[in-house]
Symmetry: C2
């Protein structure tokens, strides 16, 4: 599959690398490819600058947001939640229309310090905002409830015996995304329902952040025990 992964941060890198490993044709889309490839400083998390990652993943192309999405069969929004709507706008509505758009972003607001709060919650969600703004995109919210390394390789923790959620209005799109999740190693997939259920997974983030703060280890996930 031709996949556009939007975002050059840790989530974008992890998803792009894994989909490349699974032999998809992956393009990382970013607002300013030249700027991204000119970076020399580690990111805020201490990860090497993007060009180091890019040099290690030479099968992955780097392109602008419209270029990356124009021919994509699957689009992954791995941008910062605060900039997601703007990034998708820059990709262009026509380039999203009819396509499955996996939305991993969380609307984290760091303006009040750590841990972040949410910039949208309770009666709305980023997933819904994206679906409303791009009604012809087939938005599926998923993978936003765990660390990037676990997103793409769940079996490294308890053999994969933990849960990933999906939310979206389009059943066929959710089935396709479930197939992608299975290819990543997910077996415990809970379909929560329509895109409004993204409120649930986005509002879980504050608990995720507190569990992370208490355990000092981001390599955890929750399992729905029933």
């Amino acid at each position: 599959m031709r996949v556009a992964v939007l975002g050059t941060g840790p989530v974008g890198q992890a998803v792009a690398a894994r989909l490349d490993e699974l032999d998809h044709q992956v393009t990382v889309g970013t607002r300013d490819p030249e700027g991204a490839m000119a970076r020399t400083d580690p990111d805020n998390f201490g990860n090497p600058p993007f060009p180091v990652w890019a040099s290690q993943h030479s099968d992955v192309s780097i392109a602008t947001l419209p270029e990356a999405t124009a021919d994509a069969e699957l689009i992954v929004n791995a941008t910062n939640g605060a900039g997601s709507l703007e990034a998708l706008e820059a990709a262009g509505e026509d380039n999203l229309a009819g396509k499955v758009l996996i939305d991993i972003a969380n609307p984290l607001d760091f303006s009040g310090g750590m841990p972040p709060s949410l910039s949208v919650s309770n009666n709305d969600s980023l997933g819904e905002q994206i679906q409303r703004r791009f009604p012809e995109a087939r938005v599926v919210k998923t993978l936003n409830t765990m660390n990037a390394y676990l997103m793409v390789d769940p079996k490294q923790l308890a053999g994969g015996d933990h849960t990933v959620f999906i939310s979206g209005d389009d059943t066929d799109a959710k089935n396709q995304v479930a197939g992608v999740l299975e290819s990543l190693g997910w077996s415990n997939i809970v379909d929560l329902g329509d895109i409004t259920t993204a409120r649930g997974t986005e509002m879980y983030l504050p608990l995720w952040l507190r569990i992370m703060g208490a355990t000092q280890n981001p390599m955890f996930n929750i399992k729905v025990v029933r």
Copy 2:
């Protein structure tokens, strides 16, 4: 222990019954004991009216909020989140001072229909509101992330292999509450930190509600897998 359980709803009933079974001296506190004992209609969930439950638990006393809390060594807030501050106000600040106050309530707002949203979230929580209003109470938020039946008997699901969280500013109070939780059957107890971490567990409720909606079964809980 002399325990005051505030609230006559399903959570109050479940907690009071279980603590009675564990040989604590339990008083259910409610604004209007006579009114509660005069009810003849099932509650909104179809449960029998309170007097039926009371007749089946004759060791449990029923009293006003100040009466129930005055001599209590442990207080459990199992009132509706929307009425919790008012109920605790009615109990009286002096009756709460210095005592461990387990807060199970969730600030659910049903005014916008189902599923409910939260009346406080993101930058504050009901747990924090209670602690701020009653600074001498030793508030511990816990048990607010699962069904009432699981709260008091976690071993009925997967042998208890799932997680309960605690949040609070007072370490001794949290240790006492952890002891109570263990007596109920909990073994997987995660201390998230101070009372501000109640934002995490209260904001999990929207996800709980969507999982419940998707699975149509309230007898589930999450386990932190790490």
